[in-house]
């Protein structure tokens, strides 16, 4: 076999007492797409950050074409031909697309930026690779999908030989994903080496040539994609046999708990983004609202949960009209809310797990009363951490140090354990691994079975078709299809989602 383009040897990276990456070897060849798999917190991003110079490994070496290199900074990485599209976008919102793409390597004459040239580069690249963006628009105003394209363009703009894509499809629509895969296959065909991180095995199977699996910072498998089955991969990833996802029974609905009527919502700029949405959710059922991100779901959820004042329409929770009321009142009416923006809204990163959980319990006798008690707060946190399988070193651990799955389980613990009558959750499994995703979904089903009315807003077709009892499809702020009598198939909803776009 020929020499690998890139070889990572014995990379170790620790954060304090925990070892995030534990002597990992990785060999990447030109012209191939190499998938890197693993649960949340397995160390994938950490390993890649070491490769890209954002982190310095504690030990281990990096070789390019057999020559040992020191990647001390992203700048160095770029010089070496390593490009990276980050899991969490690293873009500057107020700058234009062209400025972002050229950042750090602007074409210039003297000190001045040649804006025209930078824009031309972006235009050329976006034509060449079929990544459609306007170089002059500001990143702030772009959809997530478009921001993703900007990230990729940025990596491409500098003749990279090795391209790292960290969960690039997590925020893309199915159609965008499809196009995106064409693009990266094109990269490989031109001789680039691609490292792809993803939680979606079906995607991986479609594009990757070989896979490496990390578990708890260690490499547990490496093989060509043809040599492993999806079941085997899943087992490798979670370290045990995959639980069989049994078909979720449909619920038995009771009385109406949440009813939305003629809801109009405006976004931050005053444009109406949700139009005359009406539906109800009954006790003991999960209603799924499915739609491509950016079709007004966010604003709709905010309006229902009291975070945004609707322009008109009514929201009735447990018989109480809550439209336009403060979140405090909405919650008292019986709402539990798992927010889309987990880290901004759903938890305080600089607070401990204990505080994050007990802040939702302040008005209950359990920890409440005007004076709070650390002991009781700790006891509550420990109990819920066990109940909801939140894995943290201790209740005192800072929430921002939790992996995505555990953070989400912590939010669920706070929101669901109080047995709210109405649960609204938005994108509850975004960015979570297989095991965590399964856990979150079964929690929602459990809440339903205990009699909660659950509104599940999601852009994942399989999520909605798996657990929702009724499915509504939202597009451009309107409900465009409704499936009451049966769980729709992926094909059915897929058509409806696109239909709304005509």
């Amino acid at each position: 076999m020929d020499q690998p383009l890139l070889a990572l040897k014995g990379i170790v990276k620790t954060f304090g007492p925990m070892t995030a990456v534990d002597s990992v070897d990785l060999e990447i060849r030109a012209g191939r797409i190499h998938a890197l798999l693993g649960e949340n917190g397995a160390g994938k991003s950490t390993l890649m950050n070491c490769l890209f110079g954002l982190l310095r490994p504690d030990s281990g070496s990096i070789e390019i074409e057999g020559v040992a290199v020191e990647v001390t900074s992203p700048k160095k990485a770029l010089e070496l031909g390593i490009g990276m599209v980050h899991q969490h976008f690293k873009l500057v919102p107020s700058l234009t697309v062209a400025q972002n793409v050229a950042l750090g390597r602007e074409p210039h004459s003297g000190p001045f930026v040649k804006t025209k040239e930078a824009e031309a580069t972006v235009e050329r690249l976006s034509r060449e690779y079929g990544l459609d963006v306007d170089p002059r628009s500001r990143v702030r105003s772009l959809s997530v999908g478009a921001q993703q394209r900007v990230e990729i363009l940025r990596a491409l703009a500098q003749d990279v030989r090795i391209l790292v894509l960290d969960e690039p499809t997590a925020v893309l629509t199915p159609a965008e994903t499809e196009r995106f895969f064409e693009v990266i296959k094109g990269f490989a065909a031109r001789g680039l080496a691609v490292i792809l991180i993803s939680h979606h095995l079906s995607e991986v199977r479609r594009v990757a040539d070989e896979v490496t699996v990390l578990r708890q910072g260690r490499r547990v498998a490496h093989s060509a994609i043809e040599e492993v089955t999806n079941t085997q991969l899943a087992e490798l990833i979670i370290g045990r046999a995959q639980p069989i996802v049994s078909e979720v029974e449909r619920g038995t609905p009771g009385e109406t708990r949440l009813s939305i009527d003629g809801l109009d919502v405006r976004d931050g700029r005053g444009l109406e983004i949700v139009h005359a949405v009406s539906f109800t959710v009954r006790a003991g059922e999960i209603v799924g609202v499915l739609g491509i991100a950016g079709n007004g779901q966010t604003e709709m959820v905010e309006a229902i949960t009291g975070l945004r004042r609707p322009a008109s329409g009514s929201v009735v929770i447990n018989g109480i009209e809550t439209a336009g009321e403060h979140t405090g009142l909405v919650r008292r009416a019986g709402l539990g809310h798992v927010p889309e923006d987990r880290n901004g809204r759903g938890l305080a990163g600089y607070w401990s797990v204990q505080d994050n959980i007990s802040i939702g319990y302040l008005d209950t006798p359990e920890v409440g009363g005007r004076l709070t008690s650390r002991a009781r707060m700790g006891a509550l946190a420990r109990r819920l951490m066990i109940d909801f399988d939140v894995r943290a070193n201790s209740p005192q651990q800072q929430a921002r140090r939790l992996s995505g799955g555990n953070a989400q389980k912590m939010v669920l613990a706070r929101e669901l354990s109080r047995k709210p009558d109405v649960v609204v959750c938005a994108e509850p499994t975004r960015g979570l691994d297989i095991a965590a995703t399964a856990a979150v979904r079964s929690r929602l089903v459990e809440a339903r079975d205990l009699g909660a009315a659950v509104l599940l807003v999601s852009s994942e077709i399989d999520e909605v078709t798996q657990i929702a009892d009724r499915v509504l499809v939202i597009s451009s702020g309107r409900i465009v299809a409704e499936f009451d009598d049966h769980r729709p198939t992926e094909a059915e909803v897929g058509r409806a989602m696109l239909g709304g776009h005509e």
């Binding site: 890209f52 954002l54 900074s73 992203p74 700048k75 160095k76 990485a77 770029l78 990276m84 980050h86 969490h88 976008f89 690293k90 873009l91 500057v92 919102p93 107020s94 700058l95 400025q99 972002n100 950042l103 750090g104 390597r105 602007e106 210039h108 000190p111 001045f112 930026v113 702030r140 940025r154 405006r266 976004d267 931050g268 700029r269 005053g270 905010e302 975070l307 945004r308 004042r309 322009a311």
Partner: protein, 314 residues
């Protein structure tokens, strides 16, 4: 008409030290390296300028010394913030204290002058009389006989706007200030960029300080700035760290200061209350500005956060 010209002339000369200092502060603020030690920096460079100006007899060397001492002082601040890793705000407060102490110490123990250092026969930064332009109504009296530093400041301001909006460095400053991670991932060095912006703010405050000690009167004491550095800082924040905003804010301060001097002549309002005019004007203008923005965003009831370092969203 000449009254208007005289008024503008006064407004301009009140504006000079504020504007130039604010333009420098704008860079630091934009890179999220908030410099509240502008006042102390002005003080240090006012002293540096007058010492060298008096020693060499050349006011331009004085200006150079003012700028260099401003840069040096900002370097101390950067050292405290990025090497000692003090909170930048606390370091700024400490730097202001330090400036008072150091200047007093130098004036008393090195220059052997009690409190106020006012050497005789120091050549001042020249004033520029504009010849025939001075005859044009309003503009003539407003512009003629301004200190040559006025033109320096105009150049610095234009340069500042150009650098921030047209150059690579400007883009880097914005990127570092708005998203440190994005900047890092693009291979920029945030700390380096911040340090440079701090040095720029020091240099600009150096010009402002020189104006105070070497343009109209060659005199220095440790209360010389009278809080002008804080006013400049206010202009930065008020102008949302954009060039145009900062210029407008400084102009507002200049006009309000001139008004508080000119209206005293009329004798209708208590001088003490008149003195508050620039500050009251700021609060009013700020209130109007945010109420208008609030109108535009009134549909958005969710935004309850704020950004201590000012990043323009427009």
């Amino acid at each position: 008409m000449s009254a208007l010209g005289d008024f503008l002339s006064l407004a301009l000369s009140s504006m000079i030290p504020i504007l130039v200092t604010a333009i420098g502060g704008m860079f630091a603020e934009r890179a999220r390296a908030t410099n509240i030690a502008l006042d102390g920096t002005m003080l240090i460079s006012a002293l540096g300028a007058i010492i060298v100006g008096a020693a060499t007899g050349n006011p331009w060397l004085g200006l150079l010394a003012g700028v260099i001492s401003g840069i040096a002082y900002a370097a101390i601040l950067a050292f405290a913030a990025f090497v000692l890793r003090c909170d930048l705000l606390i370091a700024g407060i400490a730097a202001n204290l330090l400036a008072t102490g150091v200047t007093l110490l130098v004036v008393q123990n090195v220059l052997k002058s009690t409190g106020t250092y006012a050497p005789a026969n120091v050549p001042l930064i020249p004033r520029v009389s504009l010849g025939f332009i001075g005859k044009i109504p309003v503009i003539g009296p407003a512009l003629s006989d301004q200190s040559a530093l006025f033109y320096v400041v105009v150049v610095v301001t234009i340069l500042g706007a150009l650098v921030l909006n047209r150059t690579r460095f400007g883009v880097h400053v914005k990127a570092v200030g708005e998203s440190e991670e994005a900047a890092e991932a693009a291979g920029l060095k945030p700390i380096l960029t911040r340090t440079v912006t701090l040095l720029i703010s020091g240099a600009a405050a150096g010009i402002g300080g020189t104006y105070l000690s070497l343009s109209s009167v060659a005199s220095f004491n440790s209360d010389l700035t009278g809080g002008l550095g804080f006013i400049a800082f206010a202009a930065v924040i008020f102008g949302r760290a954009t060039p145009l905003g900062t210029i407008l804010a400084s102009v507002l301060f200049g006009i309000a200061t001139a008004a508080s001097i000119q209206l005293q002549g009329s004798g209708v309002i208590d001088p003490q209350l008149l003195h508050s005019l620039p500050y009251v004007a700021t609060v009013l203008a700020l209130a109007v500005q945010s109420i208008r923005r609030h109108r535009l965003n009134r549909f958005d009831v969710t935004d309850t956060s704020f950004l201590p370092a000012i990043i323009p969203r427009g």
